[in-house]
């Protein structure tokens, strides 16, 4: 009788504990070790520095939306190949390329290319597990949604939300260097996508959007400079600075204006009348396309 009660209590407890552990958003402690061989282990960044971090530096949703809005058809050739994924052996390459494939996933989702989504989320899952954030990537649900070609909105939501959760977890657990690498990967792939599309189909809005990346790159470099003691991130900064050099020639003019508030059908809309005008020449674009290609191709091949 005693044995039976003991066994029953153990079984019930184990089931409940396992159920609790399965939940994706638990606030795990930093007990999970990471591959420290790259030197990208736990990192302490001052609260003052963290409070200055600007968010939304790179958005796969917005870049893909712009490309789709200007009428450019989907093309697999713009995306990073998943063939290299087995070669990403360091935390650096895993985190960075997690961002790269995250950007590609955004591109696939925007064009509803669910047939290719499974291949990319498989790689994303592997890379995320490689830096111990795989538990936040809802692979099974994404696979089901993509395979059954159902509920594209949920697919988009879960894709983006999973990355946000991974990002927040890394920042909270003194691994914000890997978060910065993920953001860098999304940005590099995003600007690569935009410049490659521009090469095939020049477009004024796309040119402006590329020129505006000057601001995003400045903010990204501020984030990365917090971790410049890391050799890999220092090398990344050097590579990104070659792109920044080309952006130095791009000018952005601000035309002042006051915002308007419009209420229609109980919906408040803020219409901004202050505008930014990007001045970027064909020559500058050509150089940006070239240097972006070189940097991105180099980084997605790094092991």
């Amino acid at each position: 009788m005693k044995n039976m009660i003991r066994k029953l209590a153990c079984i019930v407890s184990c089931v409940l504990i396992l159920y609790a552990c399965k939940s994706g958003n638990s606030d795990y402690s930093s007990q999970l070790g990471i591959d420290d061989s790259t030197g990208t282990g736990e990192v302490e960044v001052s609260q003052a520095a963290m409070s200055q971090v600007v968010d939304n530096v790179s958005s796969p949703v917005e870049m893909a939306a712009l490309i789709k809005a200007i009428g450019v058809p989907f093309s697999q050739k713009y995306m990073a190949t998943t063939d290299n994924s087995d070669n990403y052996n360091t935390s650096f390459s895993k985190a960075f390329n997690l961002g790269v494939f995250g950007a590609d996933l955004g591109y696939l989702n925007m064009y509803n290319k669910t047939s290719s989504v499974v291949e990319y989320i498989t790689v994303i899952k592997k890379l995320a597990e490689g830096i111990n954030v795989g538990q936040f990537f809802d692979f099974n649900t994404l696979k089901r949604l993509a395979t059954n070609n159902e509920n594209i909105d949920s697919l988009k939501y879960i894709s983006v939300h999973s990355f946000n959760v991974m990002d927040k977890y890394l920042q909270k657990n003194k691994r914000s260097n890997l978060s910065a690498l993920m953001v860098a990967g999304v940005w590099v792939e995003g600007i690569y996508l935009a410049t490659q599309v521009y090469k095939d189909k020049p477009n004024k809005k796309l040119a402006e959007h590329i020129g505006e990346q000057k601001l995003m790159l400045s903010e990204l470099l501020i984030i990365l400079n917090n971790y410049q003691k890391d050799k890999y991130i220092a090398d990344l900064i050097t590579d990104l600075n070659t792109i920044k050099t080309e952006f130095d020639q791009v000018t952005i003019t601000i035309i002042k204006g006051e915002p308007e508030q419009v209420i229609e059908n109980d919906v408040l809309t803020i219409k901004q009348n202050e505008k930014s005008i990007v001045n970027i020449s064909d020559e500058q674009l050509k150089k940006l396309i070239s240097v972006t290609e070189q940097v991105r191709d180099k980084l997605v091949k790094i092991q």
């Binding site: 005693k2 009660i5 971090v53 968010d55 988009k156 915002p259 809309t269």
Partner: protein, 168 residues
């Protein structure tokens, strides 16, 4: 044949064993219940984000969520606010939505600020009018600041969602 003394020792031993067993069962059950409760709470946070994202509307694509929890202002101090800095891009319609938790003492509000200029807010203290959110037709790529607080400086919990609506 066992003596009375031996029976008493055996009975005491069995009683102690029973106590130890009950304590172990209680401890295991406590751990199980605690873990379950914690997991339910964690799942609810993710669900809250998803619900708030849905409130933004079917034409909005979720981009970021900001989860805010603040204490009430003390005495004459300025009501606390959480501040976030984000890059928003020109020719883009964004939607900012605020969802106050059911158990929040205060009602959450959100302000969008460009430099030192407030562009819009979900709460107007002069009129008392409140909105669940607002759209922002961005024409200037820049770093913007989002301030989140609670009406009348009360304590509160809320979630704010930044969504992409469309390119303008």
């Amino acid at each position: 044949m066992k003596s009375v003394k031996e029976f008493k020792v055996i009975a005491r031993f069995q009683h102690n064993q029973k106590n130890i067993l009950m304590k172990k069962i209680s401890l295991l059950l406590f751990i199980a219940v605690f873990s379950f409760t914690y997991s339910v709470k964690a799942q609810t946070e993710a669900q809250k984000v998803e619900i708030c994202s849905g409130i933004a509307g079917p034409d909005a694509t979720y981009q970021k969520d900001l989860q805010v929890s603040l204490d009430a202002a003390q005495g004459n101090e300025k009501p606390p606010q959480a501040k976030y800095s984000m890059i928003l891009q020109k020719d883009t319609k964004y939607r900012l939505t605020i969802c106050t938790a059911d158990d929040s003492p205060g009602r959450g509000y959100l302000q969008l600020v460009d430099g030192d200029k407030m562009l819009g807010a979900t709460y107007d203290p002069k009129t008392g009018r409140e909105f669940k959110g607002f759209d922002f037709d961005c024409q200037k790529t820049a770093v913007y600041h989002i301030f989140i607080g609670f009406v009348d400086g009360k304590a509160g919990n809320c979630i704010a969602i930044l969504s992409f609506v469309k390119k303008l």
